[in-house]
Symmetry: C2
Subunit: 319 residues, 2 copies
Amino acid sequence: MTPKEQNHGLFDRACIIGIGLIGSSLARALKRDGLARELVAIDQSETACAEAIDLGIVTATSQDISAAAGCDLIIVATPVGVMPGVLQALADVAHDGAIIMDVGSVKGSVADAAAKLPPNLHVVPAHPIAGTENSGPASGFAELFENRWCILTPLARQDDAYLGAVEKVETLWRSIGSDVARMDAAHHDLALAVTSHLPHLIAYTLVGAADDVESVNEAEVVKYSAGGFRDFTRIAASDPVMWRDVFLHNKDAVLEVLGRFSEELAVMQRAIRWGDAQALEKAFTRSRGLRKAIIDAGQESAEPNFGRDSKPTRSDTDQ
Amino acid sequence: MTPKEQNHGLFDRACIIGIGLIGSSLARALKRDGLARELVAIDQSETACAEAIDLGIVTATSQDISAAAGCDLIIVATPVGVMPGVLQALADVAHDGAIIMDVGSVKGSVADAAAKLPPNLHVVPAHPIAGTENSGPASGFAELFENRWCILTPLARQDDAYLGAVEKVETLWRSIGSDVARMDAAHHDLALAVTSHLPHLIAYTLVGAADDVESVNEAEVVKYSAGGFRDFTRIAASDPVMWRDVFLHNKDAVLEVLGRFSEELAVMQRAIRWGDAQALEKAFTRSRGLRKAIIDAGQESAEPNFGRDSKPTRSDTDQ
């Protein structure tokens, strides 16, 4: 029996609140592996609901959170900012013993909201470190979580019912191909500020600032973007509302790592101003090892230019 | 007759000084399209010379610049810092009417050095906006320049012999698949500071600063890099000596655009500190259009995650 078959029917009736990139990818993965007998998408947007039905990734949809009643698994895949409100609403709707799993990029604010829920509801905060720059139900795919890490930040509860719920959530993620780590919410928020939130902030800022130099126009930025700029545009194309909420809800950790980045940037600026060749070369040399480690860990493609230029595109008739 | 055949034998004897990523890619492209009858690699490194012969991409190699004698095309593909010295040495070696084409990422400093050469040598500064994070003769490929822009920054000379040389260089680039733009060296240096030099500096700084947060260790940075960090590691893995020289030789333009970036970053920092949701969402929304323009211009892949995650990697036996 393969692991997939083993976990078949892990949940009976699951719902996903927020059927965007992550929600719809989870829907596809759960469906593919038969992890839930029934799968309902709950989304404020009528369009998103209709799209989810058309895509055939859920068995039903609703614009009303009361559709979460009777679900043994409730996945909250909304922007982080509305999660506290969603959790509060679920307190009146969710049935006894339901597992509520959010998949937000910030965990501290979810933990605070979860602590207010009655103990018969088992909130298991999870964060899959996976995604693309696209949004909406159509952008999801079942393989998104494969060979990616999912971080669980369980609440400070030691009762058997809760620990069992955490185990079940871990089984879900492993079943769809993820590695799973557990840590506390504060550490998650700092680690992800380094590996995800700061990079997004920097990319948004760099891409946004490209039109700051009056004499270099946008057409030139576009043409010569293969010099390095285009690499930043991918994550700077991510969902603005999702990222707005990340920065509003992980303020302290982001400001902390941003401060350290700014110090480092000032050091580089001074090395350039003073023509300190040795300092520059030394700083530029240390990054190669880290990229190699990321490739070796299976978190990155080893292909030059991410492999995106590997297909020859030239045809003589184009000349 | 295809354009490729049309330009067959465009040059008689060509040499490439510096047989790294760009030099060896040019060697492969020139060879593939028969643009030079004979092709010599000149490199200080014995290993690089041996590698170029083994790869079969040149007809001969030399560690001595005097091998440039008798060449009608001399390509200078060294780091920018040594180019002035190379140009000076070529003044004694190159034959009457030779075209000397550098391919450096900074053009102002080359123009200054080129102005000192006798007028019977035709220096045509060129900068192909193409590359990968890899270095060395083995990392090159003939298709590197296809559908990429090459910027020429011709000297302020209007004599027919020189204008003819510029035309011939433009023909070379078009022949191997590039689009060609002409501008003055100062504008090039500012435009590339925006689209290439600043992005590299920011990427190097971000990747280098990843170990600044004591409580987040490198293993965590590696594991959770798919959250965005890994995108920065590609260009931060570029050749340290080449990039050291870029920043030493394009100091003014880099400091100028870096100042503007830092201002923008301070604005973002303040928006986060004050919880200014509207300002953040607005800033995050404007980047999508620019990425779309870059994709539409054929300078970027439209595939999510640059297409690097598109191949399902999971196998049940791995679980």
